[in-house]
Every structure is written in structure tokens, then in C-alpha cells.
């Protein structure tokens, strides 16, 4: 399968791409999308700081802070999972993957509560620039957490069949890379929309 991976892999401290290169292409594309979204947000905020501050004042910090902690915990758990599989500790690895999914599930529940409140208050994408960006960015990110959970769940499922026993743990690393990307984007999003007001 790996027809164009280069030789010299056994040299110690060799530069190593964590996970599949195709996934890293996807990650870079996703980062580009979010990056441009953030820059456009910055431009609009710069043009009308009052509108954005006013909108931000109406956001509560409790749920997003808990959510940040949950995503970070999920990331920490998947790092532990990669290490466990690298050491061929299958049971432990699967448990850490499950922890990541639990953390992600918690994120989704809290986020749904937060967004539900906004929708109940009649806020939509057409409720002005701030709410447009708030909803676009958070819902878009929310969907990425869902996708991240699907990927981790698929890896967890394969791990049950011993797919990552001994030979290769590419799949775990690939899923972990995606999860960390989702986390990284949220770290910026959290600072940008909720905290920096």
C-alpha cells in the first residue's frame, strides 16, 4: 500500500509525519478555511468593534470554558491512546479512545444547550454581523467535533478487532491528528469569540 514512503525509516530521530499524509492535507485545508474565517471575523470586528463587544457581552463564559476543558481532556486522552497502542497496550488504548469520545460527547451536549438557547431567543444567521459569525463559526466547529467523533469511533471499532496490534498504528495517529486540529481551532475560537471582549 505504502508505495511512495521513502526508505531510511529505521534511522533514529528520523522526521516522522504523525498519521497519514492525506489526512494532513485535509487538516491543512481545514485550517485554511478556519484561518480565513478568523481573518474575515477580525476584519469585521475591526470595522465595528462596538457591535461585536455588545454581542460578546451577551455570551456566558461558563459553558464554553467547560467545553474547552472537555476538548483538551479529549486531546490528552487520545495522546495517551496513541502511546498505549505504540506500546501495544490494546485494552488501555481502547479505553483512552473511549475517554476521548466521552469528552467529545460532553462537548456536544453542552454546546447544544448553548446553541439551543440562542435559537430559542430567535437568533439566526441573519441577526447581524456578530451573530452571523458567532453561529457560523461555532456551528461549523460543532460539526467538526461530530466528524472527529465519527473518526475516533471508527478507529475504536477497528481497534476492537486488533487492527492496531503490533503492525501499524497509522489509523490511531491519523484520528488523533484530526482531533488535535479540532481542538486547536477551538482554542483560538474560544479566545476570540468568548473571552477577548
Amino acid at each position: 500500500m505504502r508505495t511512495d514512503s521513502l526508505p531510511m525509516e529505521d534511522i533514529p530521530h528520523d522526521r516522522h509525519v504523525p498519521g497519514d499524509l492525506a489526512m494532513w492535507c485535509f487538516i491543512l485545508a481545514e485550517l485554511a478555511v478556519f484561518g480565513v474565517f478568523f481573518l474575515v471575523y477580525g476584519y469585521h470586528r475591526w470595522r465595528d468593534p462596538a457591535l461585536f463587544s455588545h454581542g460578546q457581552q451577551q455570551l456566558h463564559l461558563l459553558l464554553p470554558t467547560l467545553n474547552t476543558l472537555l476538548l483538551l481532556a479529549g486531546s490528552a486522552a487520545i495522546v495517551a491512546a496513541v502511546r498505549a497502542f505504540a506500546l501495544n497496550r490494546q485494552r488501555s488504548g481502547r479505553r483512552w479512545l473511549m475517554s476521548t469520545m466521552l469528552a467529545g460527547g460532553g462537548f456536544l451536549v453542552l454546546k447544544a444547550i448553548e446553541l439551543g438557547g440562542k435559537f430559542a431567543a430567535g437568533i439566526t444567521l441573519s441577526s447581524g454581523d456578530f451573530w452571523m459569525f458567532y453561529l457560523s463559526l461555532t456551528v461549523f466547529h460543532f460539526l467538526h467535533v461530530v466528524l472527529g467523533m465519527v473518526i475516533v469511533a471508527a478507529v475504536w471499532w477497528q481497534a476492537r478487532d486488533g487492527r492496531y496490534a503490533g503492525a501499524t498504528i497509522d489509523g490511531v495517529e491519523t484520528a488523533a491528528a484530526y482531533w488535535h486540529m479540532v481542538d486547536l481551532v477551538w482554542i483560538v475560537l474560544f479566545a476570540l469569540i468568548y473571552v477577548a471582549r
Binding site: 492525506a22 485545508a29 474565517f37
Partner: protein, 475 residues
């Protein structure tokens, strides 16, 4: 009809050439011939409307601009569809390693499509458009009179039936054959083409919704599923002419089309800036469509990389040239020229000007016309019983490549300058001129465009001639 097609089929099979792997691949030949014929028709009508831009009353009222333009754009779509179908009939049996499910059905489909297409064009030219609409049942379900979808209702239904017959034939072939990534991507693209065409039957009274779903055909075709077809065709030819390991080509194919759909689907939003849709599309559409050049750039790099890593010297150098040309010109036309007007702050001034036309010309030629010509260039010699044409014939074909490509670059540059003039005089000036006053200022550029159009036509004639150059065989 069936007698005639059976006879044609028998004739095709009788001279099934040695070089194709499966005899039923020969059904691709009439499709490609029809494609080239309709391509010539498209360019002739392009010349007529190009002339009408400078001599406003040329051929009026016999052929008005709106009619000639409709023939120009509809022939474009139809010849590309013929090209895709020919490519499908050639590619799928070879990839699936079995004969086509039903060559007979393919020939029947060919004649139905050709006759329906010809009748539609005759209707456009021979009848007033509203009479044609009335006679063909537009009052039952109004679908006509929208760009690219001007076909009468019965033609649209015919297109759906032709597409279903074609897809049935290919899908049955694939289901019982070898399933390669290239053939799966090709079929996914063709199924997507058929499914999104169904939105041509959606025409709400609300103009905003009408336009909204019109783009589900037009944008999701050319910046969505057609790119899967294009990618699969290009990958197929590259596997053949470079001899690079299929596994490598196929994984790049997946990655490129993944990027295409990731950026292109939401990228539809760049059409939703000013048609009465909510303002947030300006942000969503700009962001995603700004990234649409990425897959085109990857496609270019892909084509050049594979040719650089080639493991054989294929005698058909013309096909390789077309493949590389597709990579470059689709990036320039769809990627770069598309990007020029895609950000909402820029598009506010460029929307609905000749700048859009400049992008349209180079993108359609660079991506879709060229990929079909790539496929024809690779397959036609095989369908005619040889691995490659003689060097003399290939030289004529390569010359045609350069004349057509440079002419389209000329047309694009003229139209870009025309669009910039429009933006400047009509939209940004402190004392804006009216549309028609602005047009007067652009006349020299329209003349230059017409000259480039004549250049393109001569290139196309050279291309046609290249099929009749015999010369000495290399092997």
C-alpha cells in the same frame, strides 16, 4: 432506428481494431466524432455572436443574438456530454476488464441523443422561442428560458432518459467487473451529473429560489461533479501514457477530488451574493471559493509530476501534451481567473460583466474541452487500430493544440480588459456611463476578441485535419 443501429453496431464490430482491448469499446468512436462535429458548430456560432458584438445587426432578424448565443452554449454542453459519454464507454470496459454490458444500447442511445440534439437546434433556429416553448409543453411545466437550460421540456426529459440508459449500461458493466478507483470516481461523477440535472425541472415562481436552484445544476456541475469526471479521465490517460503505478495515481485522484468537493460545494455560495439571498453568503461563499484554486493547482502538479516520473515513453506524445495542457489551462481558467472575481468585495463590481465571460471561456476550454480532447487524442488512434498516430499527424495535432490554446488565452485577455473597462466606466466612475455608452468604448477589444476567435477556429480546423494526415508510421 433499431435496424439502423444494429447495422451500425455490426459494422463497428466487423472492423473492431486490434489495439483496443475490448471490442465493445468501439462504441466510443461515434460519440467522439459527434463531439468534434458539434464542437465545430459551437465555434461557428461563437464567431456569429462575436461578430454581432461589433456589428450589432449582423444576421438580424434571421438569427438574433439570443438565439445564436443559446446555440453556442447548448452545443458546448452537448458536445462535452458526448465526449464524457464516449470517454465512459471507452474507459469503463477497460478498467472493469470486461465487455460493455450492452453495446447495442449504447449505439441506440447515441442516435437518440444525436437526433434529439439536432432537432432541438433546428427548433431554436427555425421557430420563435415562445412558439417552440408552446409547442413542446412548456406551459405544463415551465423550465425554459434560463441560461444553459433553454432546452424544451421534451429535450430535457430526453436528456434524462439518455443519461439513465448510459448510466445503466456502465453501472451494469462495473457491477460485474473489476472495480478500480478510476472507474468508481468516473461513475460517481456521471451519476452526480444526472442527479443534479434533475434540478433543471425546478423553476419556482420566486425568482430568488429559481436562481438559487439553477446554480445547483450549473455550479454543482462544473465546480462539482464534472471535476470528478475530469479527474477520472485525466487519471486514466496518465496511467496509460506514463506507466506510473496505478496506486499512486489513484490516491492522488482521491485527494484532489476530495479538495474539489470540500471547497466547491459550499463554494456555490459565491453565486449567492446579490440574487436576493441573505448576506451571510458573502462570507461563506468568499471563504470557500477562495480555496477553490487549490484542487486545480494540485491537479496541475499531479499531471506534471506523473509525467516526470513516467516509466515508459508512450508514442502518443500529443495525448501527453493535451493532458499537461489540461492541468495548466484548468488551473489558469478555473483557478486563477475564477479567483479574480470570487471575493464578494471584488465581485460587487465585477458581477455580470465581461470578466465573468472571460473566466467562463478559459475555464470551460481549459478544464472540460481540453480533458475531452485529451481523451480523444489518446483513444482515437486506438479506435482506429494503432497505438499512436504518425509523427506528421501528431505534429499537426500539436500545432492545433497551441493555436487553439493561445487563441483562448487571447480571447480571455480581451474579455478581461473589456470587463475591467466596464467596471471602471460603468461601476466605479464618479460619473458612471450607461451600459451602451460603455460598450462603445470597448469596441476595439471586441474586434480583437473576434480576431482571436478566428484564430481559434483555424486551430480547430487544423485539429480536424490532423485526423486525415497519414504520414509514415513510427512503428
Amino acid at each position: 432506428m433499431s435496424n439502423a443501429s444494429a447495422a451500425t453496431l455490426a459494422a463497428e464490430q466487423a472492423r473492431a481494431p486490434a489495439q483496443i482491448k475490448y471490442r465493445s469499446q468501439a462504441v466510443a468512436k461515434p460519440y467522439f466524432m459527434a463531439a468534434i462535429g458539434l464542437f465545430i458548430g459551437q465555434i461557428l456560432f461563437g464567431l456569429i455572436i462575436g461578430l454581432q458584438y461589433v456589428k450589432g445587426d449582423f444576421l438580424f432578424p434571421a438569427i438574433s443574438f439570443s438565439t445564436a448565443r443559446m446555440v453556442h452554449t447548448n452545443l458546448l454542453i452537448v458536445w462535452l456530454l458526448f465526449g464524457f459519454m464516449g470517454a465512459g464507454y471507452f474507459l469503463i470496459p477497460e478498467e472493469c476488464e470486461r465487455e460493455l454490458y450492452s453495446p447495442k444500447l449504447a449505439i441506440i442511445t447515441f442516435w437518440v441523443f444525436l437526433v434529439a440534439g439536432a432537432l432541438t437546434i433546428v427548433g431554436y433556429l427555425g421557430l420563435p422561442y415562445n412558439v417552440l416553448a408552446h409547442l413542446t409543453g412548456n406551459d405544463l411545466l415551465p423550465t425554459m428560458g434560463r441560461g444553459y437550460l433553454e432546452q424544451p421540456l421534451i429535450t430535457k426529459v430526453g436528456i434524462v432518459l439518455v443519461a439513465l440508459s448510459f448510466l445503466f449500461n456502465l453501472s451494469m458493466t462495473l457491477l460485474s467487473g473489476r472495480k478500480t478507483s478510476i472507474s468508481i470516481v468516473m461513475l460517481l461523477g456521471l451519476w452526480g451529473l444526472a442527479i443534479f440535472f434533475l434540478f433543471s425541472f425546478v423553476n419556482p415562481n420566486n425568482l430568488v429560489l429559481d436562481k438559487y436552484f439553477w446554480w445547483w445544476v450549473v455550479h454543482l456541475w462544473v465546480e462539482g461533479v464534472w471535476e470528478l469526471i475530469m479527474g477520472a479521465m485525466l487519471a486514466f490517460v496518465l496511467v496509460k501514457v506514463t506507466g506510473v503505478d496505478r496506486e499512486i495515481i489513484e490516491k492522488w485522484l482521491y485527494l484532489i477530488i476530495a479538495m474539489t468537493l470540500i471547497t466547491g460545494i459550499i463554494g456555490t455560495g459565491h453565486h449567492y451574493f446579490w440574487i436576493g439571498t441573505p448576506a451571510y453568503w458573502q462570507v461563506w461563499g468568499s471563504i470557500f471559493s477562495a480555496l477553490e484554486p487549490v484542487p486545480f493547482f494540485m491537479m496541475t502538479m499531479f499531471a506534471f509530476n506523473m509525467v516526470k516520473r513516467r516509466r515508459r515513453e508512450h508514442p502518443n506524445q500529443a495525448a501527453t501534451l493535451w493532458a499537461l495542457g489540461t492541468g495548466v489551462m484548468s488551473f489558469l481558467g478555473a483557478g486563477v481567473w475564477g479567483f479574480l472575481g470570487t471575493l464578494s468585495v471584488v465581485n460587487y463590481y465585477t458581477h455580470g460583466t465581461q470578466l465573468t465571460a472571460s473566466h467562463g471561456h478559459m475555464a470551460f476550454y481549459g478544464a472540460y474541452a481540453m480533458v475531452v480532447l485529451t481523451m480523444i487524442s489518446y483513444t482515437m488512434p486506438l479506435l482506429r487500430g494503432r497505438e499512436a498516430n504518425s509523427p506528421q499527424a501528431q505534429n499537426v495535432e500539436k500545432l492545433a493544440f497551441w493555436v487553439m490554446t493561445l487563441s483562448i488565452v487571447g480571447i480571455t485577455l480581451c474579455l478581461t480588459a473589456a470587463g475591467a473597462t466596464q467596471v471602471w466606466l460603468q461601476r466605479m466612475s464618479s460619473a458612471p456611463l450607461s451600459f451602451m455608452e460603455t460598450q462603445e468604448h470597448i469596441m476595439p477589444l471586441y474586434w480583437a476578441r473576434l480576431v482571436c476567435g478566428l484564430g481559434f477556429f483555424s486551430g480547430l480546423m487544423l485539429y480536424l485535419i490532423s485526423f486525415f494526415v497519414t504520414g509514415k508510421r513510427q512503428d
